[in-house]
Amino acid sequence: MQYIKTLLKKLMDAPGLSGFETPVADLIRHEWEDTCDEVTVSKVGSLHGLKKGAQPVGHKARSVLIAAHMDAIGMMVTELHGSFLRFTDVGGIDPRILPGTPVTVHCSGHGEVIQRPGVIASPHPRAMAPTNGSIPMNELLVDLGMVEAELKSQVQIGDLISFNTHPMEHGSDVISGHSADNRASVTALSTFLRNNKNRQFGWDVLAVATSQEETNFAGAYTSSRSASPDLAIVIDVTFAKGPGSNDWKTYASGKGITLGLGPNIHTGFMRKVKSIAEEIEIPISVEPMPKHSGTDAYAVQVANAGIPTIVIGIPLKYMHTPVEMVNITDIKRTAKLLEGICSELDDKFLKKIAWDHEENDGTAED
């Protein structure tokens, strides 16, 4: 548990906006170099950690890709406005959560990037047209406490803005902060690799910390194509129950993880994983994903000739706010489920999950 907490907090504290993942990728690489046989970076910045399997002689080498996106939502400078900045969001942010939020502006005006702390400000009502509602994002400002000339020399349009709050611990199992989406899943994947450092599974396991999920899924599209795995597991956060969110789309935090069900998901693989979870006593809810799953699975599923893909969800409260909240127990469960799945990977596994699996129970000859 302590490993999970320490790693999660470290990953949450690192910047790594969509398309600019290097700071967090470096931290993950440090973990994976110790637990994988090979660690490489893709052309669009995804991190690949290969854990070689014990491939039986005479059979095609099989591999499973396990993806968790490492990029985080944030903001980007759109305009210098007097001694203030204007910005837009990178990934979806509700403007109502922004006024009064501490941020870091990654200032590129002098070439090398300099991080400067600032705060998101809502202009005083007297300086705005009257409103009874929220302040739209294009009217919000970032204040670095600089005068206009200094700001002009330091900040350029396109400079990144990340949240500048640090993770909080709540009791023994709960952590909150920005970027728990999706560093919680990266932590689960890293924990799985660490727990199985000295173990060889039947198949190659390719851990991928994907880039650009929050914007265009570029990491998931490209890593799944180049790796061409036989199966894919996508880990992402899902909606936890909380104030204002209690409908069918939400799951109690700390009470178990979810398995997606829908068009992005391979039904046979999902059913098999569900039975594995039941066997090793991991509480699972089936999460309806009627259309786009909103995860990397959307991209991974259609790579090459198509890849049987499942989605594991870790419930997260207050998604896409600076105070996302996750229960460590669910991260631990995810790591354990990955271990349970990988333990079952043998030369018959693909048959066991084939469409119409009831007629084809995997006992047929190869």
Partner: protein, 355 residues
């Protein structure tokens, strides 16, 4: 006299004061810091019936006017009002907080400073109409993540922001009015042969200037100066179409001398004095735009038979939010202006004709 400077020890003290919790009516942690700072000072120190700390001269010398310096210890914050289960608590606002500044903020709950957050519904589950509207306080909860131990309705909560000094910027919660508390404590380091000073570290400013009212009644000073932090609304308008003519104050332009606010016509003789010493000593200062709002001056100037009173405040942006921005230069100019003005005060002022 040599005018004071902000030294590292003052910065350390302000950091401690801003990071402390002290919601109106529960100023205990701030009071402890103040009482510790008052130890060994040659003053009579007491905590009054409301919880304000009052420090007065050991011996009154009637040949010198008694000048009361006031700063308030309390800050805006929250009180938990019901336990909604699973670590969720409903809360009420204490002091004037815009609920629009609350979602997505970290807080500390109770005397044990239990970490909590004020969350918001994920954007994915909201509609465009919802996002264009306001979130009500009733819809927001303080979430301590797990069934709260030692937390109960009635506990206070404050923003969890920790002070940061960045060049000449101060980013912190509760600069309003811990910066005033720090200034009062710094004034104690100075000698003013022309006056005697009494200090009021008041409670309950944010909910109606109540601590200062009884403090002034018991101190019964000849003059009073309320040292507070005043909002700077010096923002541009979104599309430049509206000229922001109501900015109250601007940061970087020095301490704000009050003339007229929502509750006080500041004594014109004191206003003139402080403007004059500002010019003479070449201290940057500004005049707060007359208008609504106010300070403890509002209750002090009507205490007993009346007290000639002035407010001098340090400007800051983002008042009553999780993170305020103030300038070290404005803080330093404030202590300089105050010291320069105090060294010129005498009974003569009261003999000057009122305009």
């Amino acid at each position: 006299m040599e005018l004071p400077k902000i030294e590292q020890r003052h910065k350390d003290l302000l950091e401690k004061l801003c990071n402390a919790a002290g919601v109106s009516g529960h100023e205990d942690e701030v009071r402890k810091i103040v009482l510790a700072e008052l130890k060994g000072k040659h003053l009579n120190v007491r905590t009054d019936a409301l919880g304000s700390v009052i420090a007065t001269p050991k011996q009154r010398d009637a040949s010198k006017p008694l000048v009361m310096l006031d700063a308030h210890m309390d800050e805006v914050g929250f009180m938990l009002v019901s336990d909604d289960g699973d670590g969720l608590y409903s809360f009420e606002l204490v002091g004037g907080i815009d609920p629009r500044s609350l979602p997505g903020k970290q807080v500390l709950v109770g005397n044990d400073k239990v970490p909590g957050v004020i969350g918001a519904k994920p954007i994915h589950l909201t509609t465009a109409d919802e996002r264009a509207g306001k979130l009500s306080v009733e819809s927001l909860k303080i979430d301590v993540g797990t069934k709260g131990k030692n937390i109960q309705p009635g506990d206070r909560a404050v923003f969890a922001t920790k002070l940061m000094y960045v060049e000449d910027n101060i980013f912190a919660k509760a600069i309003d009015d811990r910066i005033g508390v720090a200034i009062l404590l710094q004034m104690m380091e100075l000698e003013f042969p022309n006056i005697q000073l009494a200090y009021s570290f008041s409670v309950q400013e944010e909910i109606g200037l109540r601590g200062a009212k009884v403090a002034a009644q018991s101190i019964d000073p000849d003059f009073a100066i309320a040292i507070d932090a005043t909002p700077a609304y010096d923002h541009p308008s979104p599309d430049g179409s509206i000229e922001n003519s109501y900015y109250n104050t601007k940061i970087g332009l020095g301490p704000a001398i009050y003339t007229y606010d929502g509750s006080t016509l500041n004594d014109p003789r004191l206003v003139t004095l402080f403007k004059r010493v500002g010019e003479e000593e070449k201290i940057t200062y500004q005049l707060r735009q007359p208008g609504g709002g106010g300070t403890n001056g509002g209750s002090i100037h009507r205490a007993n038979g009346g007290v000639p009173t002035i407010s001098i405040s340090v400007p800051h942006r983002y008042t009553h939010t999780a993170i305020l921005l103030s300038k070290l230069t404005d803080w330093e100019s404030s202590v300089r202006l105050l010291a320069a003005g105090l060294s010129k005060m005498s009974y003569e002022l009261t003999k000057q004709p009122r305009p």
